[in-house]
Amino acid sequence: MADSQANPDRGRPDDVSRLAPQVPSTEPSSEPTNGAAPGGNEDRKWAQLRSLLVGPETERIEQLENHPPKPEHLATVLADAVQRSTSANGELAEALRPSIEKGLLTSARKNPEELAEAIYPVLGPAIRRSIRAALAASLQSLNVALENSISPQGIRWRLEAWRTGKPFSEVVLLHSLEYRVEQVYWIHKQTGVLLNGASANVDGQRDPDLVSGMLAAIQDFVQDSFQGAGGGELEQIEISGFRVLLAQGAKSGLAALVRGIPPQQLSEDMSATLESLQRRLGNELDTFDGEVTPFEVAHRELEGLLGGQAKARGKRGMGPWLLGAALAGMLLWWGGSKVSSERLESSREQALAALQKEPGYWIQGDAEHSVWTGLRDPLARPLDQVLGDLEGQVKVDWSWQAFQSIDPAIVLKRAHAVLEPPASVTLKLVDQRLLVGGLASGAWSKRAAAMAPGIAGIQSIDWSALVDQDRQAIEMRSRSLDGLYLPFGNRSGALDQARPEVRARLDAIRALDAMVLAYGGVLRIELASVLGQDESYDRGLAEKRLQEVQSALAKLGLACTILDVQPAPKESAAVGSKPGVRLGVRALLPQAP
């Protein structure tokens, strides 16, 4: 062991000393020493090694770098590569996007027809759908205006809407627009040649070949007359007495000769027919050279466009009963959910219509939705009364808020509820003016007069036709009691209250007083003493009697005013006036309302 220490390797201490100072300064890494000491020498060595090992491949790599792969080779892998990339992530699509967009733009600019032709089958239906949706929305608002009109005709249309499952508004439009499609042409666009046509049996038939040609000529004329002005293709031509509706496709067009004003639906049907024909006979259209036989298969479809007119006119076809039976049969046959959903919609339409014209209701909802919100006056008829069986059929979630309707029918109901008039009273409403008539107690009249102005929907009240039965009774009685006479015995100063006539007269006064009091009035009683013929002028006696009556009245709770002592009128001596006290009776009543 010592030997080995004593004979150390020559280079070793050097090596150690060379390494020693470095050890602390470098991190204790396993970095190879040759890497720490690079030199041109080493690089060259590596290059030599590389060329020895992969020499021939380097050449090929260089070749590949300078010459891109041959298209044939790329073609075999490209499809696969694209597929993999597409299924992996969207990077490829993103990378290709700008080029594709640019390509499309260029194509659209250079060759718009081809592009249009390519996308027409896709865009055509989509565009029509959106137009139809917009139209439906506008029909919906029309609905509201029409729903309120009820006439025998309106009810018939409503029935038809129910039967056919169409919105009511559409049925109305269908009937109110009178039109007739007389002829339909399918025209090859470029040549203007008639591919096929159909015509209703009408007088003065126009030659379809000529019409097609002329239409094409007009179309050509318009197209290059207004090309710059953004004028696209004609949609309609009006010629005295009729109009020509046009549906334009890429290779062909449909034209319909129509009398009257056609509904929008006709244009839509035409476009749809044209699309389907162009799809079906696209090849024949592409290679068209005047041979029109292949297009004869379109005849049935073209005739279908004529069909609409007969129904609109209601002239041709089955009688209404037969039609009804046929429809009923169809309904039975259909059976399934279609019918029930149509039923549902039509019963909702009916319910809406019923609620819209029912006083005290304001409803928001439509046939397609099952949540309806509405305002309901508490005095309106209950829902089940308004809707009857419909209530169970509409399957709607109701959400009601209370409100006060000023519909006359409801205002009148409200007046009745608030005023509670007796049977003898009638209430009427004319332009928010409440007319009160008949016979009522004063108490009711007074209460009514106080309450009526606060009733919503009533602007003013007319009481002139109301007779106040209490007032009337008081006035009658006080008139009959006025001048009432309480007799006294001759020379007697005492009122004999046991005498039946005295008793009855005092009772009558008391009763009248009660009535007047109840009415809020005051009964005024005036006393005058009348001396008998043979009593000469005995003032003392007269006063005695007055006091006697006054105290008798006071006992009954009546106040009175003593007027005077009246001597027996001399002239009445012949008649023989009886001694006693005369009562003047007057009811002082508050002013009528």
Binding site: H188, Q190, T191, L210, A217, D220, D289, G290, E291, V292
Partner: protein
Amino acid sequence: MIRKKVCLLGSFAVGKTSLVRRFLHSEFSDRYQTTVGVKVDKKELEIDGQAITLVIWDLYGEDRWQEVRGSYLRGASGGFLVADATRLETLDVVRGLAQRLREQDPDIHLQVVVNKVDLRDGLAIPLAEWRARIDWAPLTFTSAKTGEGVEQAFDALARACLSPR
């Protein structure tokens, strides 16, 4: 059933409308009513047992101020070019139109007619000279007034339209 569009073209007043009337209705009138725009007519013919409907577009005549619209010519199988035997300048118009038609569709069938040949004394150049100058297309001498050559000319064009291109 075959339908073909043919266009009648030529300078104004050469007799295009008169030729159509003669061909369709065997009528003639001395009155001149210039055609405004297009008048479309048709004639059903039978050529070698094959039914064909010629849809004839009678166009307004070209003059110094108005050229026939290109769009009217689109899709035509045949061009019926009319010159007036009494007016040599109508030949230039026919030549120009033939060129335009061929540019638009190199396969179009052309038929040239020199009309009003009944006016023997008024011929601009002798008929032989007309024939010599029109050696680039089938030519027929016609008179809408007498009916001479009219049917033959239309028949020839219809036949050409039926032949494969």
